[in-house]
């Protein structure tokens, strides 16, 4: 077996049994990155020297018998996570020379367990996009078909897992940015409940929606990664102080008697036939495993995309006000302060970021605030209520992740509204603040991966992971590899 195709658990056991050192594994990963990067473009920065130093330290720990599951495991993280001393661009020109003075809590936790950082992954600029085409550092291509997008905004995080460029990765999800690329690249991606994972040191896009999560080769790895990054952080006052269960321990409990809701609004006529077929097969698999299905309705689903693009852009316009050329980031030459603000921002931001700042500024501006922003917040309440009312009757929900498999590069880039609508099944979960996972559930006729979404109750990642694990044990979709 190729080292670069291993799961966390497989590599961990090889390291522990001394079949392999972390330096060997890390070197193999760096070679793999070198060979496939020209075709994929997952990385913005590869930290080869740092990775080998961390691997050497990990090997010493392993030799001393002080080994955690993540000791010596080569990982990579989206370039939205601050990493002390390592360039962090968030996919934007405006941060082209930004070297953070501290690290994000989620990465520090992984690093504290001995994980090795291979580098920082490509993404849509400031996580704004569904295709990784808005990065200032070039597009990322789907390892299953390099004429297609990998999804976004955590496109590099998904493509790196699919192309064997990292054993597992971290991404962020504001409207589907972990789940949609995971679905398009055939990996497992979890968006935890809002408040489950600290956002400290994660560059903000829409603060009431952003959440950190893992992208992995299988559900067991996903559970392991979540177990490490979850939990209260005094540095993030929105992280919730609630116990973190032993996710790995409950994976094998099965789905017998589990009540799964099928929201009719997610099984629309326009659904791609390959996606529909994969969903039908998944439902059949769960039935065979003893789960019960309940037809449900989330009546405000149709309003989610409109609600999201008002709330997210409003929060973005406010969050991105900090990029003013004063303390860090790009500064344009200018004679006066106002010109410096205007020019620095206009030169530093790409077109999608400008578009969203404009929309958000408009939605918050005098005369429109109530009609757009407050109205959207009220509809958000109704969308949340839909979920909470339905969760009184079901344990989880099953839906597609995206209406189609990965689309072609360039296909939607000139039509932002069509691009936004591709997130129709993932956005409601962020608005409701709850958790959901994408896992491999089939392939289209043209060989592109199709993901299945399991939506859980707030802070019940445990049931989502357990249901995902049961599906994975009964199917072999997750074992297929992209031939790149």
């Amino acid at each position: 077996m190729n080292i670069f195709d291993m799961t966390i658990y497989e590599l961990h056991s090889a390291l522990k049994d001394k079949q392999l050192s972390s330096v060997e594994a890390t070197t193999a990963m760096l070679e793999r990155i070198k060979s496939v990067e020209p075709q994929v473009g997952s990385f913005i920065t590869v930290t080869a020297a740092g990775a080998l130093a961390a691997a050497t330290a990990a090997d010493r720990q392993i030799a001393a018998g002080e080994c955690t599951l993540l000791t010596g495991i080569p990982l990579a993280i989206k370039d939205i996570f601050l990493t002390e001393g390592v360039l962090t661009t968030c996919g934007s020109r405006i941060l082209e020379n930004f070297v953070p003075p501290y690290s994000a809590t989620s990465w520090k936790k992984l690093e504290g367990r001995g994980a090795v950082l291979l580098g920082k992954l490509n993404q849509d600029e400031f996580a704004m996009g569904s295709s990784n085409e808005s990065s200032a550092y070039g597009i990322t291509r789907n390892p299953w078909d390099t004429s297609c997008i990998p999804g976004g905004s955590s496109g590099g995080s998904a493509a790196a897992v699919a192309a064997g460029e990292a054993i597992a990765t971290l991404g962020t999800d504001t409207g589907g940015s972990i789940r949609q690329p995971a679905s398009h690249c055939g990996c497992v991606g979890l968006k935890p409940t809002y408040g489950r994972v600290s956002r400290y040191g994660v560059i903000a896009y829409a603060s009431s929606l952003d959440q950190v999560g893992p992208l992995t080769r299988d559900v067991a790895d996903c559970a392991a990664m979540l177990g490490v990054i979850a939990g209260h952080d005094p540095m993030d006052s929105t992280s919730v102080d609630t116990p973190v269960p032993d996710y790995a321990a409950s994976l094998t409990k099965g789905v017998k008697g589990l009540k799964i809701g099928l929201p009719k609004e997610y099984f629309i006529a326009g659904l791609d036939p390959d996606v529909q077929r994969a969903m039908d097969a998944a439902i059949e698999t769960y039935r065979r495993l003893g789960a019960e299905f309940v037809d449900i309705s989330l009546p405000h689903t149709d309003y989610a995309v409109a609600t999201y693009y008002l709330i997210a852009t409003a929060e973005a316009s406010s969050n991105l006000a900090r990029y003013d050329g004063v303390r860090f980031g790009h500064r344009a030459d200018a004679d006066c302060l106002l010109d410096m603000y205007n020019k620095s921002r206009s030169e530093g931001f790409g077109v999608e970021v400008k578009r969203r700042i404009m929309l958000g500024t408009y939605a918050l501006s005098s005369g429109y605030y109530d009609a757009y922003y407050v109205k959207a917040q009220k509809v958000r309440t109704l969308i949340m209520n839909d979920f909470m009312a339905t969760f009184a009757n079901v344990d989880i929900m099953l839906t597609p992740v995206a209406p189609t498999p990965a689309f072609k590069i360039g296909e939607k880039v000139n039509d932002p509204l069509q691009m936004y609508l591709s997130d129709i099944f993932t956005i409601p979960v962020n608005l409701a603040g709850t958790c959901a996972m994408s896992l491999p559930a089939g392939f289209s006729n043209s060989g592109l991966p199709i993901g299945l979404q399991l939506i859980g109750k707030p802070f019940d990642e445990e049931t989502v992971l357990r249901a995902g694990y049961a599906f994975e044990q009964a199917t072999e979709w997750h074992l297929r590899k992209a031939t790149i």
Partner: protein
């Protein structure tokens, strides 16, 4: 409502963005389409509904008011595009 390039210029000024003539035209059309799409929210009855600003109900998160180490001057200034001693330097504000 039709978004004009004058509307776009006004919003750009609020957002501290300097747009090219091409961008103004592009955004006028695209914002028009997107704002046209979000009009559908007007059809939702939200009478008496409390707006949600945050998905998880929580109260203020307090901590003890104690002095803690901070990152320090050099680290804080390390990314400054321009500095003057222990300050961030910016172009003149007042003539």
């Amino acid at each position: 409502m039709k978004m004009t390039t004058a509307d776009v210029e006004y919003v750009a000024r609020l957002a501290r963005l300097e747009l090219t003539p091409g961008e103004k035209e592009l955004f006028a059309g695209q914002m028009d389409a997107i704002l046209g799409y979000v009009e559908k929210l007007k059809g939702v009855d939200t009478e008496g509904i409390i707006p949600t600003s945050h998905a998880v109900p929580m109260e203020n998160s307090f901590r003890e008011d104690v002095v803690r180490p901070s990152i320090g001057l050099e680290k804080a200034l390390a990314n400054a595009p321009e500095r003057a001693g222990s300050f961030f330097a910016v172009p003149k504000v007042i003539e």
